[in-house]
Each structure stands twice: as C-alpha cells, then as structure tokens.
Subunit: 521 residues, 2 copies
C-alpha cells in the first residue's frame, strides 16, 4: 500500500486487517488451542499486500454471477462483462489456430507415432503444423512435454527467443545468448523473482509509475521493500517526465532509502501510452547515472494502435544503439498473455537479462528458479510459437497473418470507440489509448458522491465502480487500485469486449454515468 495515497487502503482484495483493529472473534484461543494461522500471527507483509485487479469488485462480480445462475432476473442485466483484467479469451477473442494445433499435437504426441492417426491428422491440420510439432519434439530429449524441463526452460525455446530479440531489435546474430533468457509461468513470476532478488529490507526502494499495474506494489510489499512512486503526467497523455523521476529519486534518497530499480511499463498499464524514443534514452541515462536497475515491462509490445506514429522500441534495442549494453543493468519481461496471442491461461512468458547483469547473479536466479523445478512446458511452447510464428511460404502463414491483423485492427477500433464515448460524458476525460489493452479515464465526481463514499468508508471511485457493477454488470477496477494523484479519481477498463459486445458496454456505461451524475448532483 502506498503511504502517499490514503485512498488506496480501501482497495484491498479482502479484509485488509490492520493489526491493531482485529475483531477478537476471528482469532486465536479456540477450545484452549492456540492457533498459528490467524491474521494476527501470519507474516505481516502478506497482510499489507493489496491486489485490486482481482479485489473487492471482482469478488462481488463473482457473487452476482452465481446469483444470476439461480435467478436470471435478479439484476437488470443477464451477465457480467469482465473488463477488470486483460483476459482476451474470456471476452471471446479466438486463439491463433496454428499455435493451438501445434500444441495439441504435442500433447497427444503418440498420434504422431501411429501412421493411421497421422493420416487422419493430415486431413485436420496444415502440413506445417505436423512439421512444426515434429521439429519441437526433436528438440525435446524425453520426447514428452510431461517431463520437467531445464529450470530456465527448454534450451531450444530460449534460442528461439534470443533470435526473436535479435531480429526485433536489429542486432547481429549471436548478440543475445540463450542462457540470459529465463522462461517463466507468465511474466508475473519473473517480475516477482527479480524483485525478491533486489529487495533486502524496507530501506530498499523500487521506483514505480503512478498509476501502475499492482503486481509491482503488491510484490514490493510482499518482499518487505518500499515503493518509490513517480507520477505520470496525465495532461500529456500519461507522459513520463525526467524532473518527476529526479524528484522521486531525490525524495527517497533523502529519506535514507536505497533506490534499487526503476520499473517502466511500455506500452503503459493501466494508462495506454507508448514511450517516445527520446524519453527512453533519457530513462537509460538516468539509470546509468543513478546506478539503478531498469525493469522493463514490455508485455504489450505488440499492442500498438498509433499506425506507426509512435512505434514500439524495446529498451534492449535502445541500450545497444546507445552502446551502453555492457553498463546498463536491465531486465525485460514478455508474455504470451497479451499482444494478439492472448493465451493467459497457458502462463507462458520470459525475462531477458541484459549483458551487464553479473553472471554470478544469473546463477543465483537459476538456483531460485530450480526450487520450482521448471515453468510449465505448454506455456514454454506457446512462447516458442509466439516468437517463431509461421514464416512466409509456410502453409499456415496466410491464416496466421489474417488472424493477427483481424485481432489487432479490431482492438484498435474498440479502443477508439471506447475513448470517444468516454470523452463525450459529463465530467469524464480519457487520454488516447496508444497501446496495451486499457482505457484509464478520469472522472470528476460530484461533491455529494465524495461525501457519500466517505460515509461508507470507501474510496469514491470504488463506490462509483461498485454501483456501475450492480446496475450494469460491467466490472472495472477503481483507479485507487492502481494508485493515482491524491484528489483525482479514475477507473480502468479493458478495451476487450468483442465488437458485438462493445456497443452495449459503451451504451450501458454512458447511461449509468448520466444517472450517477444526476443522482449526486
């Protein structure tokens, strides 16, 4: 919980008990037996951690969903639209056909050893699906995705990731080494491992953007470190400014904190901005000057809706072009959950250690990864398919390109539609969604609404969002869950409802908003 933002304390996922104010009923002396697992006696870092994306609002949405199953007319809507989380396939985005077909054949790899089954399969999938499955199997010693892999993940996948990075960033072949790639169960466990490695005690500070994706605040709290918030500038489309980075750093240092790392999310979550190249260069210089590690969250790198006006650049590319790759301690993160792959349920991802990261620390990261044995094999293979999709000339290439473009073009249309609608509402302003999967509008709430929220003991935007849920079935996350400038209110909604759904969502949001503003006028 960020002490700079008192409203965030209302956004705990559950009973975020303060140690001093526990109801005596929940506790300890029961039939003479002293309990260990009570909210008074477990690790206090667990208690203080907040995670809003699956917090109070979502728990209520789940309850409503259950109620609707037994009583479909209990609410003014038939179902919940989950706009709280970037979960494309929950909102009907289709998986990529090639990727799923290959993964399916690897799961039932005994089919490939049986000529009659293989013959039937050749009627079901493109030729290159079979070839790809066989290529992957030839790279797996055990010939089975049911065996533990190397703790950093399959070597062939890490080699494909390295080649992908080289090609994406215009680097010479052989620049990126596969032993600097760690495959992970989604990007989140990678972020957690790196923060755990960086944080020694509460004097260790990690710079995070405000607003931020709460994975960062939650993990910092869980590791017992300190959040060092820097504010993005909403008026300039959630821009990053160097004076603000300097201010945050200086303030933390003055308080005696060791600033250990700087988190940059690009494209931004929840804010949707794409970083300018010149700003990225300044960020790198800042990290070098201050001696802080750059943690580059680049999971939305494929989600760019600027028509080439603001292309995505990786920090890795910029570091090489500035010639500082051997000085800049950088770790960058990617995932199969976002982009147009959208395979959240697979839990696949990777992180890349920059050249400047000490090999001895890499060994420590390997050791800690090995305590979990390995990331799941299917997620690893999905990473491989993401970084090595069908190539031009292969049988599935056209289908792949068609599916990819359909998803990305549709996301762009939906983003534009949503932002336009939001900006048409009284007291709402929404910055353009240049990338990622979210809009993060500011809502100017009537004084009466703020008073009411105060009486209810909740953050005003949490109250707004809960009423939106109860009246429309649309589930979004209050801005307080991401932290925000004191006195401002926001919510985050994904742009993911399907094209058929989004009109309805836009309509229900607008009607609710008008009613809400009227009610508290």
């Amino acid at each position: 919980m960020n002490s700079n933002d008192p409203s965030s304390e209302f956004e705990s996922i559950s009973n975020n008990h303060h140690l001093s104010s526990l109801p005596s009923s929940s506790i300890t002396e029961m039939q003479g037996i002293k309990k260990v697992l009570t909210t008074q006696s477990i690790n206090p870092n667990i208690l203080k951690t907040s995670y809003a994306v699956r917090g109070k609002v979502v728990i209520r949405a789940n309850q409503i969903e259950h109620e609707l199953k037994t009583n479909p007319s209990a609410f003014a809507f038939q179902d919940i639209v989950y706009c709280n989380i970037g979960n494309p396939q929950q909102l009907k985005q289709k998986p990529l056909t090639f990727h799923r077909n290959v993964l399916s054949l690897l799961t039932a790899s005994h089919w490939l050893e049986d000529s009659s089954k293989k013959e039937l399969l050749s009627q079901m999938v493109n030729r290159d699906v079979l070839e790809r499955a066989e290529r992957i199997l030839s790279n797996i010693d055990s010939k089975s995705t049911g065996a533990y892999t190397h703790s950093q993940g399959y070597e062939f996948v890490r080699e494909d990731v390295a080649a992908f990075i080289e090609q994406r960033d215009g680097l010479k072949k052989g620049t990126i080494h596969s032993d600097r790639i760690f495959l992970t169960d989604g990007a989140s466990p990678g972020v957690q491992l790196c923060l755990k490695t960086l944080i020694r005690n509460d004097q260790d500070g990690i710079m995070i953007p405000i607003p931020q994706y709460p994975l960062y605040s939650a993990t910092i709290d869980l590791c017992g470190g300190s959040q060092v918030p820097y504010y993005l500038e909403e008026e300039s489309g959630w821009g990053l400014t160097m004076p603000e980075l300097e201010r945050a750093y200086e303030e933390a240092t003055k308080k005696g904190q060791n600033v250990r790392a700087l988190v940059i999310i690009n494209p931004g979550n929840p804010t949707g901005q794409v970083l300018e190249r010149s700003h990225m260069e300044q960020v790198i210089q800042f990290c070098l000057k201050k001696g802080v590690v750059l943690l580059a969250d680049e999971v939305y790198q494929e989600n760019n809706y600027t028509n080439g006006k603001k292309p995505f650049y990786s920090f890795n590319k910029i570091a090489y072009e500035m010639g500082v790759e051997k000085q800049l301690e950088m770790i960058s993160f990617h995932s199969v959950s976002k982009g147009f792959t959208g395979e959240c349920g697979r839990r696949g991802g990777y992180f890349q250690l920059g050249e400047a990261v000490d090999p001895a620390v890499k060994e420590e990261l390997y050791k800690i990864s090995s305590v979990n044995l390995c990331p799941n094999a299917d997620g690893q293979i999905m990473v491989d398919l993401m970084v090595r999709p069908p190539a031009p000339g292969e049988a599935s290439y056209e289908e792949y390109i068609k599916e990819r473009d359909a998803i990305l073009n549709s996301l762009k249309r939906r983003a534009e539609k949503l932002v336009k609608m939001l900006n048409s509402l009284e007291g709402v302003s929404c910055q353009p969604v240049e990338g990622a999967m979210y809009a993060f509008p500011q809502i100017t709430l009537p004084e009466k609404a703020i008073q009411k929220a105060k009486e209810l003991g909740m953050a005003p935007d949490l109250m707004y969002v809960l009423e939106l849920l109860e009246q429309t079935g649309i589930c979004v996350v209050p801005g307080s869950g991401f932290q925000q400038k004191p006195g401002t209110h926001h919510f985050r909604t994904t742009i993911l409802p399907s094209e058929e759904q989004i009109e309805g969502v836009v309509d229900r949001m607008a009607k609710f908003h008008a009613k809400f503003m009227n009610q508290y006028k």
Copy 2:
C-alpha cells in the same frame, strides 16, 4: 543451509558465496558505475538458499551431455541417466492415454465445433474422450483454456478434488468444500506460499525431517525463517519417533524460536518409508498439543509398494477419524507429477486447507495467489483427470487400469531390484523402498576417500557421486543435499530408469562402487 550439518554447505547449486569471501573480480565498480546486481548486494536470503536436486552434479551432467553431442566417445558411456530427480517421462514412462487425449482436444477445442473434424476425431479417440472434453468445456465459461481462471483454479476442478478427497478418505459427501482447495502450478508453489505465510522472521522455526526434500530447507531459507531439523531413524526403515520430535521442538524452543509448523513427507522423500497409522495419530496429537500447523506432503500417495501391508492414509482422514478436524490446523499437498500420472511438465497440483484454518487466512492466501493471476489451465485440467479418471463402464476404463497397473507394478519391481543390488555391495546398506520413487542408501566410505574429499574441499558423498557421474553417466544426488546425520554418507537415486535400462544402471553402479572402494582401500 542447515547449520547443524556442516557438510551441506558444499552442496550449493552454484557459487554459494559467503559475503565475506567474495572474489573482488565479480563485483561492483565497473567503468565507474556502481552495480546493484552483485552477489554482495542482492537479497542475502537468495545467497544462502541451497537446492541440490538441480545442483552441482546436475550442472556437470548437463555439461557432459553437451560434450557427448559433439564427441560421442569422450566418455565411457553414451548418455546420461538422470536419476537425480523424480521425472518419470524423462526416463521413458508413457503418459496416460486418456488424460493426454482429453487435454489435446481441449487445446484444439475448435475441432469439436467442426463436424467433419469431430468425425475424424471419433476415429482417433474413444467416445468417452470426446464426452469428457465436452463436459470440461461446458464447465469453462470462456470455452477456452487460454483465459485466466479463478485465482484458486477452476471451480469445477476444485469440486472434483473435494469429491476425490471425500471418497479416498471415506467421508460423507459435502464434508470437503471446494473453496478450501487451491490449485497450484505443481505442489512446490503451494508449499512456498504456505511457508511464506507462516514465516515472519528468523525466530520462526519450521520442523523438517532429516533427510528431507530440499524444497523445504530452500524455501525456509528464502523466507528468512529457521529450519528445525528432526532426524528420521534409519535403522528402523527411516521411522519417525515421538521422542525425536519432542527433542527437536524443545531444543528450538529453548533457543527462543517459535515453532510454527511441522513438515511430514509421506511416503517419504528421499527415504521411501510409509507412515504407520499409529504414528500418524501421535503426530496429530503432537501438533495439537504444541499448537503447530501440520504441513502434510502427500504427493507420493499413489506410490505404495507394500502390497497392502502398510496402506497409505492421508492425515486428513486420520484427523476426521480422531474427530479433531476442527482443531488441527493442517494443509496437505498433492501433485500430478508423481504417482502413475507422472506429468511433471504440466505443473499441476493442489493444496487443501483443513477445516480448522481460519477463513480470514484463506482470504489472504487467495489474495496472494491472485498476484500471479492463476495456475496454468492445462495443469489444472490434469489435476481434474487425475482425481476423476475413467469410471468403470466408460470406454477408456480398461485401458486406463491397464496402464496404471503396468506403471505401478513395474515401479515396484524396479524398486526391489535396486534395493537388492545396493544391499549386495560392500559397505552399502539400503532400507526398503515402501513408497515414493527413491532409494537412499547409506555408504560407508573408506577413510582415504574421506581424506581425499577433505583435500578437495567437498562433502565425501558429493565426491563419490561426481566420480559415479564421470565414470558411468549416472546422475544421482549426494545425501548432503538432503541433510543427514553428521558422519554418515548417502546418495539418493530414483527407481525410475525403465525395466530395460535398470539392469544396466544396476550393473554400472555395482562396478563403479567396487572400483571406488578398491581405489581408496
């Protein structure tokens, strides 16, 4: 690292640097830039963590494997036999056909929506495979395993797990609630989450068996807690004795530690013993009397080779039969990686919170689980298939039973063969393998060998195991990696090499051992 066992310090997975003895070369001031990520400056709990199962010996085995690829005659053997880890499918155990077929159809669920493809599928798989895939899909709102699930895992899987526990333990339907089940990416992350919740600081002690599976020691170190070792009695087949539990508890308490939990691994890893029911009752009474949480690692519950002489009982069952389920704070762990499922690469598992665990703490566990969003969906489905296999009368039932029995009977034969051979060697004694997947023989090493190891600065059993690897290609783990009584030496080997392989493994081990004993006579 257990301070009671000085030999274990040699078994770090990598450079387990002591902070005071770092080579100045690995560090900090490089071109004037102060680095953050160095072994002098990262979280010291990371440095002190050891994890031998994928440690020094395995890293050397990987190197040899690479060397053999370019120069097949570089060693006296053609390939490495990985007996260091319970990884059945790496050693050619076949996956269960029904399970893989269902999972494959769920991955390519678009096939099920296409009548011509469904027709082809019906020629490839049994009818109940299609039915099961459709049943599972009907339980997934998004109709896709590519969406994030509930942070505790799919509700229908948790319901099936609850029903499985009720049936296994002879409990009335409705006794176990699905909201007390947490699905996890294998058992390990569940254990880590629970230990993280229990441990507040280095005064918090966790009782662990010696020898133990190093997941426990590693996680305790990583969380900054204290290991409280209790020794299993090798002479009585690695038996658990109450006086030893009392001794360990009292000693820790006298040192000012708060003993928070007791870890029991049943069947034992690395020791292979199955607990007697009467001992389990005493353990439960111990936990109730002392007020410590029981962490029951029951991942090998299906691996029992005693022909019904010592059946497996879950601690959950015993707690209910003793009528203490509302008093005993218990968490038990299970996995798809072991048993006859052997799907390590899926990373599927679950933990069950006993009724006595405070609901407020359950909410905290949910919150922390949600920071990782969800366990991987395929692993969850593998859990479902494990707890709800084909039923009598279903088309795949006979095939399933045949595959299950073939695997378990073969494991039993291999365990017996290995133990017999080990006991025939000079200076080696091996307790019977009643369960799990490992033999843990004691080796009485010649004084000269111990001297040599001392000169090399390594634990004697590490030296033995490294020589075994170099000369035979067989990769096992030294006893020091699991901790052992000071002055004794062991190694752990899996019983998993296939029936064709195991003769050769047994033969190579025996020849090596004779040579080793002769060399250091």
